[in-house]
Symmetry: C2
Subunit: 738 residues, 2 copies
Amino acid sequence: MKKSLTLSLLMLSAASFAQQKPLIGFTPASSAKQVTAEKTYDAALSAQRIGETIKTLSAYPHNLGSPGSKAVADKILAMYKSYGLDAHIETYTVLFPTPKTRVLELTGPIAYTALLKEQALAEDGTSAQANQLPTYNAWSADGDVSGQLVFVNYGLPDDYIKLAAMGIDVKGKIVIAKYGRSWRGIKPKVAYEHGAIGCIIYSDPADDGYTAGDVYPKGAYKNEFGVQRGSVMDMVLYPGDPLTPGVGATKDAKRLNKEDATTILKIPVLPISYHDAQPLLAALDGPVAPEGWAGSLPITYHVGGGKALVHLKLAFNWDMVPAYNVVAKIKGSAYPDEWVMRGNHHDAWVNGANDPISGQAAMLEEARALGELLKTGWKPKRSIVYCSWDGEEPGLIGSTEYAEAHDKELQQKTVVYINSDSNARGFLGAGGSQALESFIDEVTQGVTDPQTKVSVFDRKKAMQLVNASSTSDKKEILERKGQKLEALGSGSDFSSFLQHLGITTLDLGFGGEDGGGEYHSIYDSFDDYRRFKDPDFAYGVALAQTAGHSVLRMANAEVLPFDFRSLQTTISKYATELSKLADDTRETTKMDNQFVAANYYSIAADPTRQYKAPAAKDTVPAIDFKPLTVALDSLKKSADKLAVYWSAAVLKDGDHDKLNKLLYQAEQQLLTADGLPRRGWYKHTIYAPGFYTGYGVKTLPGIREALEQRNWAEARQQIAVVSGRINALAAYLGYGAK
Amino acid sequence: MKKSLTLSLLMLSAASFAQQKPLIGFTPASSAKQVTAEKTYDAALSAQRIGETIKTLSAYPHNLGSPGSKAVADKILAMYKSYGLDAHIETYTVLFPTPKTRVLELTGPIAYTALLKEQALAEDGTSAQANQLPTYNAWSADGDVSGQLVFVNYGLPDDYIKLAAMGIDVKGKIVIAKYGRSWRGIKPKVAYEHGAIGCIIYSDPADDGYTAGDVYPKGAYKNEFGVQRGSVMDMVLYPGDPLTPGVGATKDAKRLNKEDATTILKIPVLPISYHDAQPLLAALDGPVAPEGWAGSLPITYHVGGGKALVHLKLAFNWDMVPAYNVVAKIKGSAYPDEWVMRGNHHDAWVNGANDPISGQAAMLEEARALGELLKTGWKPKRSIVYCSWDGEEPGLIGSTEYAEAHDKELQQKTVVYINSDSNARGFLGAGGSQALESFIDEVTQGVTDPQTKVSVFDRKKAMQLVNASSTSDKKEILERKGQKLEALGSGSDFSSFLQHLGITTLDLGFGGEDGGGEYHSIYDSFDDYRRFKDPDFAYGVALAQTAGHSVLRMANAEVLPFDFRSLQTTISKYATELSKLADDTRETTKMDNQFVAANYYSIAADPTRQYKAPAAKDTVPAIDFKPLTVALDSLKKSADKLAVYWSAAVLKDGDHDKLNKLLYQAEQQLLTADGLPRRGWYKHTIYAPGFYTGYGVKTLPGIREALEQRNWAEARQQIAVVSGRINALAAYLGYGAK
């Protein structure tokens, strides 16, 4: 009896100890209160209500500038208000093109007129609605062009190298590229750089159609008529309204002429279905497409450039439209001028049940549960700001204009910006500032995966382990204590906060078990969502918990949960990659030039095919990465020292406001005033969307892209710039630790 | 004047020196004579005549047992005789099944009856001929089966692991597998091992159809009606007549009952076109096929095992037929009992312009040119034996029965067996005993590539460099002095010579620029060959030069050009691979078992799909490779010593017959009397066709396959066996160097 009692006491005490291990940045006392508040918060979340919100907000088309968008913004405003938040709509006035004329015809050797129309389906209740935006790419140029058609695979720079080797160029021709492997806007941009006069983009069934899986409505993948709409704005120069780079698009903002807006494409671009693509591709002559280029249409893919002729005529309404950002605040009790920000866009290409309403609905449920929490008397120490952005789809417009309009205030006040977007069944995707890695590990260890009942952290770890391709990768993941935060490129509303303003950022969302082809089509509907994305809306709750706990902890931490040691480790890895990239490029260049000199390329080539061997390349000079290494050593010292200081601080009662401000503004040290070469809007020296990848991130972008573009002088200059910013951060953090 | 004269003399002398550098195994004097003889030989070769021979011998169907085969054998006999060779036909009597009944029907959920018929084409002059063998797989069982249909990807062991993870088995069902990734016979064998009652094999257009390239007759790839015939004999047990393993199938040889012949399949198997496969695959339900399984038919590939039902009825004429090997000799002047053997089969599935007539025609041109050389008074020191084999297609039958019937004599007399088969435009493929690497390098450096005018050696090097995937691979190829001889598996007539008798072997043939789908179809015709394979028959001459020079040098070398140092290096690489394989298997097993214990597989799996996590595996014990390392060290010493002895010998005049016999019989030391586990016919310890790859080689097969099958005791036992044979070779060579 006694023994068993002792055992129970021991167990109880172990449990209490585990419970009482304070949350990062909290004292034992404040941590206990926080845990209680989060339980109340969790209890208020409802999957069913998330489902209802998704249904309501995706009931009608609601693209930027449409009556539907205004209606959705008004609904969201009312919801925030009903939850007890202080909400208003901030309106910007922005350029937005919608189609007036869309003609695509094959004119030779046979005639075919493209349908350019998705089909309404009985199984999809909203697919027959009026007011759907036609299938198009926003920011295409107006144009009426005719020319030979050339198939360019995914339309990336390497594809044009292959074409050149085959003796094919696209000057004065119209290209057709497959969707995939890059952000869509890269394809017409690269086509234009190579002299093309028009660009067609289609979804191949190998990537997004019958080969990927059963097609809609039987399954989730693209049927032959499905089309991916989307922006082709040259967003890697700057996102947002093309007429107001760097400033908010307020009513009377100074605007560029449309002709001077560098982010608007110079050639007409049109997305089409594989139903429309097949006759065009089948008409191509010329060489058979290189290995790996063919999709799964039942034809032989040729490169073209011969008898297949295409006429593409596009004209747009270049309207100024209102963008309605809904902003809702809960004022902080202790530090009202420190803002924990949370955002998700509300505009869609059509109905957008998944993109963006699934994330929007989860976020609104967060706000509602916070409202419930407020009713219990709970108060956040810091202010919490919920943002439902408009105009994300055409180019992150609502969030960018807001960030540009409020830049100084946001840099001063924003503790963290937490973004979400589409959300569905699967695994947590998490990206952002690596100073928050331990923080987000703690959050995800505390959220249960709805399907497996293990933590979201553990489920992701299992997936990463099972999918890791090599034993050494598996080992690394097994041994790693926490999980990596992915570096952020572009593609959602975090871009301005992180890359323009240097605000610490998180991007969160579940997915990976929601494969399908509804993206940016009329089939991104509630009917599709509840069948294929998150049938019981449980991952809506998982997102509301993950992001909500993040918001709650950031709002109430005694000392903010930043740890720059993980940032330093991550940047060091990037630096090592780049040094290796320079060495590898040097070695492969030497090798390639040897091959060119020995004529190996021509000797190996099939003489019956047209072939142009590559020319010798400039040799890669020595590039000194020492300044970067030295700066990173210095950052390591500061980060280590600060971590010690931080740990001591969290044990002390009192106001840590000075330390907290220093922590949350630290990322701004990594901004460079001049911005990246040729795209000064992007000021972060560690993360940027790739100039030739779009959404895909380039880390240490100034150096990396200089190396990739073989601009050795710029690589050296950028090493100096980046080292300077890392040194500045080291000094800044060192000062904080004093 | 004087200076320039000196220079001319110097140049002349350099040229003479280069010319006079003696061929490997020749004295300066005999080398000069040899070079002259080879020039005479080369001058006698005619591309036009090779083309004519291809046209003549592929004019009608001539499969084993057909009147066409007898006609071709008689033609070849007459040709050899007309060239002045002492030729005769050696006939064996062998089992050969041809189709009597072929029915394949989809019986549910809808009905479809497969056509099982290739179409005659106006563009292909022989495609409408009578007496074509129908599309079938020889050695399929007779059978009349009905059952659910299951798609098993390429039908390899790993595919069944994936099916099991999806909760799908094939017991009592009929499988449909894609051609490719293994020898075809592996697919029904593995299906049978998993309990399937029937097997259908089809060519997917992704691998061999419109996705690979334009289809016949526009291009070379398989049109929708094309079918690959072929043997599914379980040749990895033993090749040749199933009724006479190990002995020649002479008229009165002791024969097994057909029921006891283990190489005849136990289930019905049928190859079909993608036209016939599409309705079957489209009817499948069940889960969508795993990633990477789908081909490029315009359907979603499902795994099936549900409502799709198939009826397969096959019956065969199990006839005893004559196999006509044509054997032609030139008697050696000095060593008539040392034979340089050369072989290529003459039987085809249908017309076989490429397979095998392209190689046969080049070989006949060799024999003709040798005949011309004989007329000049030139004589080979050793005998030269040309063999035109029958019955290769159904299972290497002609060559195997010959090798089995003459086993002791061949082991005693054969210096080298040089094989060829299909031949076309491109790069030299060369495989065989690695003791001949320097020899074949010298040969290929002396043959000009018809298209690029560099040597065949250099063209291959350029191709390998350009195609190498990593910088380190490129470096290795650049730095390597010679070229590797590929290890030989199976798939042509060298198998018995090398793997059963331990005769030093070479397999030579050009290709790689002749892509297409004519293989084993009615479209392997002269019309196809001259359009897509080797339009001017120049690679027929290149093969006649490469194989012919090899024959000539082997026939007349003073000291035979064997160098066992390269064999030792090669075997050492295999040994290192196996030691690494054991270590890697140990590590991944440990890791996998950790995953199983932690339930990672189940946690990572999509709970909406049926999934069965793998079970824990037995741990991999320590396996001692030391005996192998020690044996290889010993072989290195012997080979080094012998190389010194060899170099001294070649400088001495006189009879080197004792050394030569030792050299050419050395490979037999690597045979093990018991043969490989469970397939004692295969006696070579270094090379064998893979038990689960078929044509694909497994090197150090006893050890490697034991490791792959997790049979640790057998791996250890086989290390002892292999080490024993390597030690024996080391002792044998060491004796020779005394």
